[in-house]
Symmetry: C2
Subunit: 188 residues, 2 copies
């Protein structure tokens, strides 16, 4: 039953908020999504920039966070984090991601259309069980910048990468803002 499922998930969301497990800057958007009878959020990340040490190409299981930010970063912050690297160190920008269960296919389709209009063009239905829509953007940066604490892209190169990560984060946050505004227009 949708209403029972939604009630349980909403409780989980409220609990997660109380435990500060929800990214703060995304809470107004999640609250708004959850104010619609047809939707309930399952999980989310508002997007972040990270410096990660990885033992091998893309092997995130054994990856170690050297730095992690839900906001824009300065060159110095990234540089300090990189210096602590012992393996191959990556600068990564994770785009925002939100999973929303929808009452039915029609409401899922509506949410997908709105998300796409907001510029979150990687949005789609990923499960038909609870009509789960993944809201996602294409902004993504994942680039090796250092080996054993030594920058391999040059200082100028690293500056461009950091600026690029910030721009990508900014762009993705603007899309979340647009999504918020589009959803707000649907409220009576």
């Amino acid at each position: 039953m949708w209403s029972e499922f939604r009630r349980r998930k909403l409780e989980g969301y409220i609990e997660a908020k109380e435990k500060n497990e929800v990214d703060e800057d995304i809470i107004p958007l999640l609250d708004l999504i959850n104010s619609f009878e047809d939707f309930v959020t399952l999980s989310s990340c508002s997007g972040r920039i990270a410096v990660m040490d990885m033992p091998e190409f893309g092997d995130k299981v054994e990856a170690i966070f050297l730095g992690k930010w839900h906001r824009y970063v300065s060159f110095d912050e990234v540089f300090e984090a990189i210096k602590r690297g012992k393996q191959t160190t990556w600068l990564i920008m994770f785009p925002p991601i939100i999973h929303v269960a929808c009452k039915d296919l029609q409401s899922a389709e509506r949410l997908m259309a709105i998300a796409n209009n907001a510029g979150l063009r990687r949005s789609g239905l990923i499960s038909l069980k609870n009509n789960v829509v993944e809201i996602n953007s294409l902004e993504r940066l994942e680039v090796p910048v250092a080996v054993k604490g030594k920058v391999i892209v040059g200082e100028e190169g690293l500056k461009v990468m950091v600026e690029f990560a910030n721009k990508k984060l900014k762009r993705s946050k603007e899309k979340l803002k647009r999504l918020y505004e589009l959803l707000l227009q649907l409220k009576p």
Copy 2:
């Protein structure tokens, strides 16, 4: 009507193949998908590596291809392409992407599950009109490497980026191969 829709799309696919508009290395997979009565491919790209000149951050409309490959690239090829750059030059790895229309939601769900099993984890239903499943992976590289023909990430840095692009392309092609094998198992 599904069978009529599928017939038309199949004709389009065969025409595109004859005109060499379909990436060659992906044809066996597309042929296999199209051999199922429940599926028909709409569009595809087998993944590629490109060097692009872009006037502004992410503005792909005015972007100029300085080099484009559906295969692994050498450092020299990339370096030569970069030298022709007049603006900010990017090294980009586009992941494979396939759009498949499905007969109904059940067949779409089956295809999504198979694609996810093959490691193509960015797969989902993007349109409910013709039950279009987008098959996609997370491999992606998009990084500024030069300004006005001058490398900004150092030679060592550029070498790492090229190697990284090749690894990403390899990984995504392996996933397409796995998808092929999983689909083959479903044949009677």
